[in-house]
Symmetry: C2
Subunit: 84 residues, 2 copies
């Protein structure tokens, strides 16, 4: 594995956790008035596209990374609808 590969894996790992601070904040504060529902709906649809893309390429890194983001996007949609 080259340094470039390592950078890509590290970047991918961080990407998969990007929404986590928002999930934790909304979960704790039980308030999501200022959070955009549309952002997470677009993100969820987009993740399904990426998972399909990963499946067509048989690339498990793409599938797993985007499955994590999809799970967080769906969690945020649920939290937003609950704490609007």
């Amino acid at each position: 594995m080259t340094g470039v590969d390592l950078l890509g894996y590290a970047a991918g790992a961080i990407t998969s956790l990007t929404f986590l601070p928002q999930v934790i904040k909304t979960w704790k504060e039980k308030s999501a008035k200022d959070v955009s529902l549309l952002m997470f709906i677009i993100a969820a649809i987009n993740e399904v596209m990426w998972i399909l893309y990963g499946a067509l390429l048989d690339n498990w890194v793409i599938i797993l990374t985007n499955a994590i983001v999809l799970a967080m996007s769906c969690t945020m949609i649920f939290l937003k609808l609950r704490y609007r």
Copy 2:
């Protein structure tokens, strides 16, 4: 260009616009109390990693897509600090 390529480009185009609804919402409502600052700081650092990765691979799709998300992340960091 195959159908799989097209799906990848379409997914990438949507990814680059994911943060736009949040930027527009915060800009209009001038309130960002419920928005996670940490999420956008992580996203910004992550985009710099992806841009570096794209540059090392000489891949302009990766560079441009992530430059757009970086610009939106920085805009959200500015809006969050202004309208906390």
